[in-house]
Amino acid sequence: MLKERVLRFSGSARFAHWGHTITFLVLLFTGLTLFTPALGRVLTPLFGSHVTASSIHKVMAVFFTIIPLIALVINFKGFVEWWKDVFSFGANDIKFLMVFPLEFFGFHVEIPPQSKFNGGEKMNSVVTTTSCVLLALSGYVMWFKDAFPAGLVQWCYPIHGICMILATCMVCMHAYLGSFHPGSGESFWGMWKGTVRSDWAAHHHAKWYNEVTKS
């Protein structure tokens, strides 16, 4: 069988994804230096001091904000297509989520045909994006706290922490699924080189594969 490939992610989507990944991870580790004293003792030496960690956190925050905005401007169409698919959440996505825990640990399950993003990826899109937006908003309020009412600033601390935990949990599973998971690992090349194996696409994202190969 020919190892044909099919285009999955545009250059701007890949730029946004990996730019976001790097800034996210730096923000996570610099942020965690302040999260609990124990984490601080372990992580702070990586950055020299709390003050440096906090400065890096703020510089990275700016990149974390502008990278997706740049991609949005360059490729607005791609962005709209992504969210259109995410919000076309239907019966097949629910079926996917019901059997996914088994699939995740390696059991063979029947999965109904999925669109470009499967039910799990749709959930990931919503939860991760929402937490990242809230992380940024609460982060800027904490950064420029003099400009905001005290009560709002005070709530931004737990919000920043909750969203950090949510997003990081998602990323732990997501990064693994998008790399070393035997089933979905192939998707890594879609995000890295732009294309994935056609037979993998036909098997994992049948609805989407039929659409892109029809035209």
């Binding site: 302040l34 999260f35 609990t36 004293p37 984490l39 601080g40 001091s49 709390h50 003050v51 906090s54 995740f104 640990f105 390696g106 059991f107 063979h108 904490m142 706290k145 005290a150 009560g151 600033v153 005070q154 709530w155 601390y157 737990p158 922490g161 909750i162 935990i165 990081t168 949990c169 998602m170 732990c172 599973m173 990064a175 693994y176 699924l177 070393f180 998971h181 035997p182 089933g183 192939e186 993998w200």
Partner: protein
């Protein structure tokens, strides 16, 4: 060792002379700042990292007459301080005298205490990246001298001493002042587990722009008592699931392979 101490701020006797501010700066070696008039004769809008105590002046109009009501601001040295709870590096601690102090070796100037103090007393020096506030003149008190502000107060509005003595004095003064000012009340006892600075107010706390009954805010409880100690464990749990799956997927695939079944790829 030192026993717990208290300060009584009798605002009914305060004349707004600001000598306490000056004495505080002199003793603690704090630079003077350019000030401007906020309202009438009040020259300071809030504490700063170089101004640890100041007087706010409130004009009360009644029957065509004006009366000045004064209020002295500084750290209240709470029994259960929000700043201490909020501090991510455990730089804030309590002394046996009941004071709340910042250890500047540990302080990183992150401003968590600034945001969470109900009266926003502490302030961060952005250059030094350290946060400062009233120390209650711990260096004087531990050597048997009154705090600089108390020592200098001319009209006798400030008193320093043992808690029982201070509370008795406050009750006596409250009874006296109530005759002219029916709304007079004590302020501080119910705030943040009880404060070291106990006030006699001539009006409701709101009149002075003070929070009525400040307690540890629910946001601080959610953040420090739930999210940080427990919520964080969700991350290793998610990571463990991923690591677990790395092995189970491969074990199951191998088992299928040896059975000649199809591989999941």
């Amino acid at each position: 060792m030192m026993t717990k101490k208290k300060v009584f701020v009798d605002t009914s006797l305060c004349t707004g002379c600001k000598a306490c501010s000056v004495a505080c700066k002199a003793w603690n070696d704090l630079e003077a700042e350019k000030t401007q008039l906020i309202t009438s004769y009040q020259s300071q809008a809030s504490t700063t990292y170089n101004t640890w105590t100041y007087i706010s002046m409130h004009e009360k109009y009644e029957n065509g007459k004006m009366e000045w009501l004064m209020f002295k601001h500084q750290c209240y040295h709470c029994a259960e301080p929000s700043c201490l709870k909020a501090c991510p590096v455990q730089a804030i601690y309590k002394t046996e005298s009941g004071y709340t102090l910042i250890d500047h070796e540990k302080c990183i100037g992150c401003g968590y205490c600034v945001a969470n103090c109900p009266w926003s007393v502490p302030k961060t020096n952005p250059e030094l990246k350290k946060t400062f506030k009233c120390t209650g003149c711990i260096d004087r008190v531990e050597n048997g001298i009154k705090p600089a502000c108390v020592y200098t107060c001319q009209p006798g509005a400030l008193h320093f001493g043992e808690p029982a003595e201070i509370e008795a004095l406050a009750q006596t003064r409250l009874a006296e002042v109530k005759k002219d000012h029916p709304k007079a009340q004590l302020y501080g006892d119910n705030a943040m587990g009880g404060t070291t600075y106990l006030y006699l107010l001539l009006e409701d706390p709101e009149f002075y722009g003070l929070p009525v009954n400040p307690t540890v805010s629910s946001s601080l409880v959610v953040w420090k008592d739930w999210v940080q100690p427990y919520g964080i464990w969700l991350i290793p749990l998610a990571a463990a699931a991923a690591v677990g799956s790395f092995f189970t997927t491969r074990i199951i695939n191998n088992a299928n392979k040896s059975k000649g079944g199809d591989l999941h790829a």
